[in-house]
């Protein structure tokens, strides 16, 4: 049984998302330019220039939530493209091929004038480039560069000493690409890029993520935990798509205050908390209830998922040169979560910070295999259980997995 009701910020963020998208559709219908951006692309440029944009991954998750992924993947397949490859991006590409775009979720995704994605992996650039061949669509690719040697403690270096963490080669490259992007957007949209507005946007993002950092720290040190991942994920994620707005900054602040009020009032996700769990891997969107299934019997609460933690540690960048600071936010963004030694050391740091008793690791065939993360956690003394989610019927997966995790909680974590 859950002892608390959902957060007000989560409900408010969901409502705002619909209003925002309706407004975006109105603006685009009225002739404003529209950009479709990948999640790891510096949105701050578009925010600064007030160019309406949506995030590819957000759209794909909305499509998935509406059970429409199959429809868009079928459109991709009909053109002869694989329907099994990088589905997050290809679902979004499928909306470009839709003969009836208005029939899509929330009135459908408008046709973008510009698509921006980074050339990560082998397929992302290909997918967006194919999109760029649709009439009226320009694809602007960014490189995805890698570094030979990196310092371990990125989460300490990033806020101010990002130059050391990321390295000058990658920063020079992305800074130059972004300067060119600004010129390209100025030329094609006729909009101006205001430097003081840019500094304001950068400051708002840092403020938003500082609030997330306070929230993360508060949850980490509060026992029993004031809330579990089911409540924290929507409150942190939806405002992330609106980084650089006052609304998003204020939501992050209200989210913090809501959590603080819970702590002050002594509310807990599970007052009988006996074990604090960490979740590694993508979210189980089709079964968020899974995360609360171990509370009643075992007092085991999922207090950690990457979503709030990466908001807290992954975005904050200070510095006098806002374009280079922005490049520093994204030049190595996914390395923070997925590339050892950064990922493995960070998960251990977070597990210690949150007083984690056990780690549930969702293993998938994602090439960004997380073996080294699980290994580092085990080496640091955190018990890890691996569960496999691929090609399994959701229902049986759930029953069997709940039993397995239950046995593991009894025999390892709580023993």
């Amino acid at each position: 049984m859950r002892s608390v009701k959902s957060l007000a910020t989560a409900a408010e963020a969901g409502r705002h998302q619909r209003e925002w998208f309706a407004d975006l559709r109105r603006r685009v219908a009225a002739g404003e330019p529209f950009a479709l951006l990948n999640a790891d692309v510096p949105h701050e440029i578009f925010r600064t220039m007030d160019i309406p944009y949506a995030v590819s991954q957000w759209w794909a998750s909305l499509v998935a939530a509406k059970q429409r992924s199959g429809h868009y993947l079928e459109l991709v397949r009909q053109r002869g493209y694989p329907d099994y490859s990088e589905q997050y991006n290809s679902v979004t590409l499928g909306s470009a091929f839709d003969p009836e775009p208005e029939a899509g979720p929330w009135g459908g995704l408008p046709r973008p004038d510009i698509v921006v994605g980074d050339a990560s992996g082998d397929v992302t650039r290909k997918i967006f480039d194919i999109w760029g061949h649709e009439p009226g669509v320009t694809f602007y690719p960014l490189e995805s560069a890698a570094e030979n040697e990196v310092p371990l403690n990125w989460w300490e270096l990033m806020p101010h000493r990002w130059e050391e963490a990321v390295g000058p080669a990658r920063l020079d490259l992305l800074t130059a690409e972004l300067e060119n992007l600004v010129r390209f957007l100025e030329t094609t949209t006729g909009r101006r890029f205001g430097e003081s507005r840019f500094r304001e946007v950068m400051a708002l993002v840092n403020e938003q993520e500082e609030w997330n950092r306070k929230t993360r720290d508060l949850i980490a040190r509060t026992r029993p935990a004031p809330l579990g991942v089911v409540d924290s994920i929507p409150s942190v994620m939806l405002p992330q798509w609106h980084r650089g707005t006052e609304w998003a900054r204020d939501m992050a602040k209200r989210f913090y205050e809501e959590v603080r009020d819970r702590v002050d009032a002594g509310h807990a996700a599970c007052p009988g908390e006996r074990a604090r769990l960490m979740w590694i891997g993508r979210g189980l969107w089709y079964d968020m209830g899974f995360y609360q299934r171990f509370q009643e019997e075992y007092g085991a609460v999922f207090v950690w998922s990457m979503y709030l933690a990466v908001a807290a540690d992954g975005y904050i960048r200070y510095g006098d040169d806002p374009m280079r600071a922005l490049a520093a936010r994204f030049a190595a963004f996914t390395d923070q979560l997925y590339t050892p030694p950064w990922s493995s050391e960070w998960y251990v740091k977070e597990a210690r910070l949150h007083g984690i008793d056990g780690v549930v690791h969702l293993v998938s065939d994602d090439p960004r295999g997380s073996y080294f993360t699980a290994r580092a956690l085990e080496a640091a003394g955190f018990p890890v259980i691996e569960i496999h989610a691929d090609n399994v019927d959701t229902r049986t997966f759930d029953d069997e997995m709940v039993k397995r995790v239950g046995r593991w909680l009894e025999s390892v974590v709580l023993a």
Partner: protein, 373 residues
């Protein structure tokens, strides 16, 4: 004396083992190791500037996998979604199959190579008992923009400096580039033998000729002999196939396709025709950086339209009659190229999707093209 072709095929059979030391130059050292031992460097991927390895006087060879041996441990480290070719290379490194390597140099030619680099770097840090050599990443990128060109030039410079630091002496870049250019020139001539009608080399033979595990100077000598002996080469009259898609680090798929009566007369992966580019010339590190920036177009780094344009030209050039796009499981990029390639071609095109490492599902080929056999 054996024919040059036989000698090259024999050297190809030794792929994945360090080539003998080159005779006509004094060799470098790494970490002041064994005085009389020339350092051995294994490299991964199409974008390692091998000219610099030659210039440093190390014995360098490209690391290849083996579809016939397991990769369970490497699967665990890399995850099952990574191209099995890279998993096999890691498995062989862990098993010590490549002998005593001083360094592994990895390029960012595809996601699997990058994942392999990260795994090597991390295993060395946290599991030193694996005994893996130090890995170095050369991050050459491929967007067709000046920003990328400048980045590549910096990375090439860093790698050159690192090699000098390893060996403790300056690089002989001009000599190395001249040797590799000469090899490229000879390989381009050999490629014409395969493109002849009827073909004078099979695809399997061409793969061996290009990837023979030999120091550059010995390779050049054998290629010269091969060209001199061209008149004695057999004719191969099978149906002419252009093989597109995934890299082939072993001859398995070539053998399977050619055993059905086809001859692979051209391909667009980095172990074959795509490795034969224009000469680099005398421009030093600048020219080297530009050469690698422009390499390809590989499935992993080019766009579908670039790949399609290349396929149309290459298919005409080698007078192929059938276009086969081969996509290995875990290597999804080539499947995205296929629709544009098919549209750009005026010969039949077949897609072999999600193929197992070292295997080709030929039933699809037989079904589509009964007359080919």
């Amino acid at each position: 004396m054996a024919t040059a072709l036989a000698a090259l095929e024999e050297a190809y059979a030794r792929r994945g083992a360090p080539p003998a030391a080159s005779k006509d130059r004094t060799d470098g050292r790494i970490d002041g190791r064994a005085g009389d031992r020339t350092p051995v460097v294994g490299y991964v991927g199409a974008d390692v500037p091998v000219e610099l390895l030659t210039a440093a006087g190390v014995r360098a060879f490209r690391l290849t996998g083996d579809p016939e041996s397991g990769s369970a441990l490497a699967d665990r480290y890399l995850g099952g979604g990574v191209d099995p070719m890279a998993r096999s290379v890691l498995a062989r490194l862990l098993a010590g199959s490549f002998g005593d390597l001083d360094r592994v140099v990895v390029s960012h030619d595809c996601e699997a190579s990058l994942r392999l680099f990260y795994a090597l770097r991390e295993l060395r840090r946290v599991e030193p008992a694996t005994g893996l050599p130090e890995a170095y990443l050369v991050d050459i990128l491929h967007l067709p923009h000046r920003t990328t060109a400048q980045y590549n030039r910096r990375r090439i410079g860093e790698f050159a400096a690192r090699l000098e630091a390893w060996t403790g002496r300056p690089l002989d870049l001009a000599g190395a580039v001249a040797a590799h250019d000469e090899r490229r020139r000879l390989l381009a001539a050999v490629a014409e033998l395969r493109r002849a009608v009827p073909a004078r080399l099979t695809g399997r033979q061409f793969l061996a000729v290009v990837n023979a595990a030999l120091p550059v100077d010995q390779h050049i000598a054998l290629l010269e002999r091969l060209l001199a002996e061209a008149g004695q080469l057999e004719e191969h009259a099978g149906r002419r196939v252009f093989l597109s898609g995934s890299d082939h680090d072993t001859p398995h798929v070539y053998e399977a396709v050619e055993s059905e009566g086809y001859v692979i007369v051209g391909e667009d992966h980095s172990f074959g025709d795509l490795s034969l580019k224009e000469p680099i010339g005398a421009g030093g590190l600048d020219a080297l950086a530009e050469h690698y920036h422009h390499s390809g177009p590989t499935a992993h780094r080019a766009t579908a339209s670039e790949r399609a344009a290349h396929a149309a030209t290459a298919v005409r050039h080698c007078r192929a009659e059938l276009f086969v796009a081969y996509c290995r499981i875990g290597d999804e990029a080539p499947a995205w190229d296929f629709p544009a390639q098919r549209a750009a071609l005026d010969i039949p095109a077949v897609l072999l999707e999600r193929q197992e490492y070292g295997r080709a599902d030929l039933t699809a080929l037989r079904k589509e093209h009964p007359c080919a056999v």
